[in-house]
Each structure stands twice: as structure tokens, then as C-alpha cells.
Symmetry: C2
Subunit: 229 residues, 2 copies
């Protein structure tokens, strides 16, 4: 299976416009991967797009469309091989390998992330943690010794960090990004509730843990308009 | 302004099919609300759909389409009144009021949520916390005394909890949902990495803090296919 869609090679000059995969598709691929891991652990060998769809609250047509972005994985009427599909989605998503992650900010959210199974299970290994608070520097949390954030750029550079997770107060978020970028980090996950900017070529994603509870407030306020579960 | 779209009243019998607002729209409304709060705090009085779009990484057409689901808020060429639009989105979303929230599971994630500003700021007040661990029951975390999860159904019922947040190990998630439903809770935010089911009329949302870091792994693996920031 070829990881790059044929369209990209045919129309390489349109790459930037035509070949972006939407956030929603990427998120759904993550969910399919998780479903496949789960059914695989139960010994299931093949899965239909209907079943994959049902377990993820989408239509079978959506599942087929998402997977078709990357090539044809299944055979009509036979469903997908769980092992193959998991391997292929894993390759596409960059899962099934280890990523070196640095955490900046060892407050409540940061400490929860240091011990968050879902990071470890998916290959995201937080091996460095930084804070600016002198009472935290040098202390151990979940086996990681907190380093001085003053040396952030140098240390992420020396340690060849793949992904940085920012869990600092909002006022420090942009300065933290700037140091990470100076240190060569190309992927940043921001938990601070503020928009941050980074140069082209650096990927930034925002995590807002309040967004789903707000969706519940919407559902309770407009039960007829919200999707049930 | 009328909160319910005209279409709903005209075709009430199609309500369940035609009037669901997509998750993506609801999430974007949350983001617009946050942007409006931010610009309002800086003294900005009016905002264009272009500006609202730019600050949220979407197109102006998308902003206008999202807002048009609920009625016409702005006037062509004049932009939106920040105060009015914020008030209207707040009404739609059920923000700008207080929701009574119960937390179940006072581990690392639960404790981070007890101290999570973005819940409090948006009106989500965690006033009850539960755990099954005898070493945690009776202890205070961030001013909340942990109650015995054995009494969950009775206590959420007596306290008229609006929304429950589940941060228990996966194996206990479904049993926790069942107790919450028995106690009359109609909205559940699940942090456990497992699918849970609830009867019709109970809204369930899943929060997976790994989904955005997986999107970063995708971006690093396929820099040409991912959207930059």
C-alpha cells in the first residue's frame, strides 16, 4: 500500500491546496485506530465499515471516504483485515512508533499528562519536563526530574525533542513557543487557553478541555438540536 | 432574536433528522464565544466575520454559515456587535450561566480538572467529587471534600447535578454512567478512554487528550498533507 495518494503525485503543483487532510478526518483516523486496537485485543480478525462506523458514531460511507483518502484497504463484501488496517492507519498517523515529548509547565494539567496512559500507550513518551518555578526545578514527578525552563531552547535542541506540550499559564505560552521553535521543535501541543503563533513548518495544535463540556451545555440548553448519544 | 430556527417550527415532524447541529459547528461556536470574550476584554466593540474567522482558523463564509443556523446577527458591511453576538452565542450555547458539575474519579486527571480555570470561567462549577478509594474519601482537593462513590446515584440526585465528569479507570466507566443515569444526570463528559453507552435523552461526550498529539504525529509524518498553523 502506498501511503501517498496518487492525486498528490499527479498534481504536485497543487499540493498545498488540494491535498490537505482535514482535521476531522485525522481525528477520525485516530478513533478508528483505537477501535481497531480494541477489537484486535479481543481476537477479532476482520471488521466491516458498518461496524467501524457504528463504534465511532459516523456513517459507513464516512469511514470508506476517510480511508479512501489514502488508498483502498478493504474488499467489497469482505470487510477489512483488522491487523492490516491497523498497521496502515498506524503508518499514516505516525503511530506504532515512539515520539520524544517534552512537557513545559508542571502544574496540575502538566502532572496529569505526565501520568496519562493514553500518551504512553500511543507512543508519546514524555522524557523531559520543564518549569520556571524554583520550588519545582529538580523535583521528580512520575519519575521525571523537572528542569529549569530557562534552558528550554538549548535542552530541547540537544535532546532532539519531536513534540513539545505546553501547559504553562497563558501569559507565558507565546514566549515558550518562541523558545521551543528556537530549539528546533516542529510540533507543539498547547494546553494554555490562548492562541499562539509559530512560523511556517511548525505544527501547532490546541487542546481545550472545556470544549466538550460546553457542547454538553449546548445539548442541555437545546435538547432538540443536539445529537443524542 | 429567536433562538430556534424557523425551519424547526415549520417542519417539526422532521426535527430529529433535519435540525441537528453538527459537533463541528458547536465546537466552533465555543471558539467564537471565547474570541468574543477576549476582544471584549480589550474594549473592542464590533468585529467582522473576517476577523472572527482569522482568529479561529476558518473562512469568513464558515463563520457566517455557523451563525446563520440560529438567525441573522450581523449587518452586511457593519460587522457584528461584540456584546450582542457574545450574548446571543452564550444563550445558544448555555454559557454565561452556572452549571452544577459532579466529578467522579479524583486521580491525576480529576485533580487537574478540579483546578481547571476554563471550567470555572465558563460557568462549570465542580461542587461535588466522588471516588471509590477509601484513602481519598473524606479528603479535600482544591476545596472539595471527596465523597464515597458508593452513594453516587443518591447524591447526584439529591444535589440536582446538571453535568457529571467521569475520570475513573476504563473498567469502571460504564458502571459509573449507569449510576449517574439512575441518579437522573442527563449530561456526561467521559475522560475514560473507552466507549460508554447511555439511554436516549442522556448526552455523552468523550474527551480524549491524546487526539491532538496524534494529529501532530500525523503532521510530522506527512508534512505535505497536514495543515500548517
Amino acid at each position: 500500500m502506498n501511503q501517498l495518494p496518487i492525486r498528490r503525485r499527479r498534481h504536485a503543483r497543487f499540493r498545498a491546496v488540494t491535498n490537505h487532510i482535514s482535521d476531522s478526518t485525522v481525528h477520525r483516523l485516530s478513533k478508528y485506530y483505537r477501535t481497531l486496537s480494541m477489537v484486535q485485543s479481543k481476537g477479532v480478525k476482520t471488521i466491516s465499515s458498518d461496524s467501524l462506523a457504528l463504534q465511532n458514531g459516523v456513517t459507513a460511507a464516512q469511514v470508506r471516504k476517510d480511508l479512501s483518502c489514502f488508498g483502498a484497504f478493504g474488499r467489497r463484501g469482505l470487510g477489512y483485515s483488522v491487523a492490516d488496517l491497523k498497521k496502515n492507519i498506524g503508518k499514516i498517523m505516525g503511530l506504532g512508533r515512539t515520539w520524544k515529548v517534552a512537557l513545559v509547565g508542571v502544574g496540575n494539567v502538566g502532572r496529569a499528562l505526565l501520568d496519562y496512559d493514553q500518551f504512553r500507550l500511543q507512543g508519546f513518551q514524555i522524557t523531559l519536563a520543564f518549569d520556571a518555578d524554583p520550588t519545582k526545578i529538580g523535583r521528580d514527578f512520575h519519575g521525571i526530574t523537572v528542569r529549569d525552563a530557562a534552558n528550554l531552547a538549548d535542552e530541547v535542541n540537544r535532546e532532539a525533542v519531536d513534540i513539545a506540550v505546553i501547559a504553562v499559564p497563558s501569559d507565558y505560552a507565546q514566549a515558550t513557543v518562541d523558545k521551543l521553535v528556537a530549539g528546533g521543535v516542529r510540533a507543539i501541543l498547547n494546553f494554555a487557553p490562548i492562541n499562539i503563533t509559530a512560523p511556517n513548518g511548525v505544527f501547532v495544535r490546541h487542546e481545550n478541555m472545556a470544549i466538550e463540556i460546553e457542547a454538553l451545555a449546548f445539548a442541555l440548553t437545546n435538547p432538540d438540536l443536539a445529537k443524542g448519544d
